[in-house]
Symmetry: D2
Subunit: 344 residues, 4 copies
């Protein structure tokens, strides 16, 4: 397989390279950029010396059309223009940006503040939450890879909402992310001295992943609901932990919630249900494609606390993108992704 990566210099791009370098079915990786044509990639990223010494290439349709797969890992508003002409021209397209995730174009324009991609392309795209959309992904030409927060949230909530074990009308989701989620562009918000030793909330009630989560709750669990969703920055590089709260339906027990999650993910290699812990942290999944989920019911309030952790750059971005590629090419989902989490 020949793979092209557009937006290779971002953190999503770098993680794609990290995993694809060891992917047994990938024989060639070409890197594309909008502005640094000809620059040797490893001269920008010293950790890739002897690994990715190839020059960055100019983005050109003819060139891109020749690949088996093209990953796009660009800021929002780029692939809405870049990808539509490539759809159906040969390569499988896997877009890591938010441009093709929202089926409702008006919603995209409201939450992203940008012009939406063409209607037809958006409808053609398949939402790439691998465990929940496997069959459509297999046939898709254009995969809209999920956002990092939605991945963590949906994998933990969808089974419970779908089976109506928890009440979807009062979902409170409190999410926390490492700083790498903000990308590689320097800003005051990501300046070390002001980020280090600082835990903060941002985009209060206005994060653009809200409509994505709501759309998926509707799509996969038939729940049309307005969620409360907030996001926080943790002074660490990688990892998302999402803590979700919902009333438990009358008569439902903690054991039933656990069973539901276990049954749902029984045959899914990357989702692990944590049953014996009183704590759960992001270091359980660091550097890997796992999503670990813990659920507890508080008998004092009859509310469930549902916790999930992922590595935002892996299961929340590059890892899930490769998992989707594996599905599209009928490879085992774990191909190239079977790595042990770092822990420390």
């Amino acid at each position: 397989m020949k793979v092209g990566i557009v937006g290779a210099t971002g953190y999503g791009g770098l993680e794609l390279i990290r995993f694809l370098h060891n992917h047994p079915a990938v024989e060639q990786i070409d890197l594309f950029t909008s502005s640094e044509e000809g620059v040797q990639f490893s001269s920008k990223f010293g950790h890739l010396v002897k690994i990715a010494d190839t020059p960055l290439q100019k983005i050109a349709y003819d060139t891109l059309a020749k690949f088996d797969v093209v990953f796009t890992s660009t800021p929002s508003g780029v692939t809405s223009e870049l990808l539509p002409p490539l759809v159906g021209k040969g390569p499988k397209l896997i877009d890591l940006s938010g441009d093709f995730r929202l089926k409702d174009l008006a919603s995209y324009e409201t939450w992203y503040g940008k012009k939406a991609a063409p209607y037809h392309s958006v409808q053609q795209s398949v939402y790439g939450l691998t465990e929940w959309n496997t069959e459509l992904i297999r046939q898709a030409t254009l995969v809209a890879n999920p956002g990092c927060y939605p991945t963590a949230v949906l994998l933990s909530l969808l089974p419970l909402v779908k089976e109506r074990l928890i009440d979807p009308s009062f979902l409170v989701i409190d999410a926390k992310s490492g700083i790498s989620g903000a990308g590689n562009k320097p800003s005051q918000t990501t300046h070390f001295s002001e980020t280090n030793e600082n835990f903060s909330i941002y985009k209060v009630n206005t994060h653009q992943h809200i409509p994505e989560i709501e759309q998926a709750l509707s799509m996969f669990a038939q729940a049309d609901t307005a969620i409360t969703f907030n996001t926080h920055l943790v002074p660490m590089t990688r990892g998302i932990l999402a803590t979700s709260y919902a009333p438990v339906m009358q008569g439902i027990t903690e054991a039933q919630l656990i069973s539901c999650l276990q049954a749902t993910y029984e045959n899914h290699p990357f989702v692990r249900i944590v049953t014996d812990a009183s704590s759960l942290g992001t270091n359980r999944v660091k550097g890997s494609n796992y999503c670990d989920i813990l659920v507890k019911v508080d008998s004092r309030t009859n509310r469930a606390t549902i916790v999930s952790v992922i590595d935002n750059l892996v299961k929340g971005a590059a890892g899930q993108a490769i998992q989707n590629m594996n599905v599209q090419f009928d490879l085992p989902q774990t191909t190239g992704l079977d790595v042990v989490p770092f822990f420390i």
Copy 2:
């Protein structure tokens, strides 16, 4: 004023020393310990050379009785025995542990798993949430200084619950703390390599600060309610951020919530209502006695998001303890506490 500190080697004790060293009304600070009698304090804590070179003293009632104030900053289960004989014997007693906070002894024993302090002493003690209990604190002999999480949570929620601007029957509180909250005793949970770059949830739905928050909601805001409360560890040393969620009462606006908070704390020097920010972080209050509060109403769900930040070791422990001492001695509350937050 002569001040004694029992449990000086813990982080609460160290912070008491940091502030009392510059307190204009304090002329002597003696340090007490259960096990290292005679050891020069600065030989254990090099940062205190030339500042606190005095030897640690043995805990003895006769000695303690001669101080104007005795702060106790010990693990739970210690002062329940140590302090009752000292009540009324002379010194003002300010206890930073949890032993005198819960008026319901059975509740203490359930949540702390330890024997409660004697009934009479517990009823005599005054809950030291300075802004909400000033008059009783002024007259108190024994102050039960609030827990770090309850301080952050209550300062932000009490005004809104008391005025019934938000619905106390569905309070979800998601709290996050720096690691110093776990104290100075090494453990696997606080071992650098496993704590650094790891964000985790712990004591899911079972933190002993739950009954303390509920008691104060009842006491100060006449709301008898069971809260949902969870705690997380942030890979940083200092700081608590609590994100609370509640339905807004019918017809109430964000402006009314803000006004309520502003009116409540108008004359309170250490509480600041944040009105112009879309983000809020712990570095705004680092090293200081401030509590900063932000409230936003999400019109999509008609739920409020209430965020507060404190330094867990200052307003959440030693700072509030000294604030209470100031109240007891009719000093301005800011005496010795008027420091600028570190920010970086």
Copy 3:
């Protein structure tokens, strides 16, 4: 005293505010900036709400001339033009930038790559290493406040070099700094995700503090020597630790080195000689104006290891600047600076 701060939005400026806010002799602090005239300071820095709510003012000579002291904390190349017209016009001038430190203008232009300040102003300025230049500082109109690295290095080496207890012809100085030394302007080098969990060397053998250290070794210890000096970035915000190596002169013992340091700093409140430790870290001095120094002789090689720690923003910048102001106004050096180090 009325104090003006030019460059208040930088970290040096913020630290000046932090300490001057509690300085008993300072009654007014005005903040100046080149570009944000009229902006309320605390609207930029939320931690200063209720503390520094004043508007930023435009830099104007007439205004600045009316202050008792003007601190300038600006990037290099700014005060070389700004300050000369103010010299002798009234205010004591304390410059935290590098523009007036090097007496040799050609050296400045080589190492800084910028045009030097006028010859006359540079010669008039006094190098503000408080402990070593007290008398000249007392009379100075323009103080060139030392660089952060030179402060840590010189305080530890000058006594030993001056007394020729160590050999100045083979000085190797390996220095490490927290990221705040790079200032508040975002860049790839200070971007959290690439700085966190990364220890790096930078400006190998080419740091502009080299000539400053060499000049001071010559000026205060009569040693004309070329040093080896390197600088590293530590993934933390505050603190400098400098490890210096030099051959010990024939027949000199570790005890003599220690005695020399103790004798030199006997009456200096901010320098502490560490005698009983096998380790030394930056947290001993965090947030304070202390410089702690440890010296050990390795009998295997007859070389000395000399270690010193400071808070780069305090003794390495704002703290020493205020210490110099105290000297200029015949106040005790500790005025406004007598704070306990944070430790944690």
Copy 4:
């Protein structure tokens, strides 16, 4: 190949598992411990659920003798007794502790303060600095895997000392390590709140890796010299950066130093000479088996600054151990180790 790991619960053991899990020639990994026989490994380390769910086994000679390879990753003083009876009994033995590194037993006892391993076993063991001892490692039954600091230092210094391009009689080595080097056992020194935001020097001039480095300089570069060597703790988990200083021999240029390094490591996949950078950090090699080296000559002093970075747990421990195993089994050195550094 069947592999046994003794000391699996330490960080060296965990890293062995991380890499061996993906090693194509390894079909079975058994885990041994001195104290937790029967405990399911993943119940202790949640990140290994679905990956290493096997029970910990009791250490027994008969069992260990049946493996193809046995890695021992234990505190010093354990394998000096454990391994001698196993030598020649079947398995290749690769010891990650310091017990077999020093050929001079008296030196071991002086620096480690423990009883040395039997003379015969020590002499039989082969020092496992892969790039410098390949042939002996290939034939070895017992490999003494190098220490983390010595690996970083020796790979950078040996070529230059061996060719006498730098003067071995004045070597100053200033090394810095992440906290994981201290292992997984909690202590005050590794307690998060006292380690975070603290850079410190420890074991001044007395680190037990000094004789190991000196022995290798003698063994591989015929230089009998006493080095100056110091170690520092960096508030991060992984990574070592060593900055070494030495006079450059008369007439030797920077270009010659670079050429020497390049020529030495031309065919060695894990050593990379950095030629175009003015900075070098540990994140270039994080999580990988690479060692990156930078050399600069300061023409002002005619001294060389030689910088090297490794991941202390990989090239400094588990990675190099597996690299040695690959050599012993005539596999390409990169087998199972060909991973892309994390960078962030």
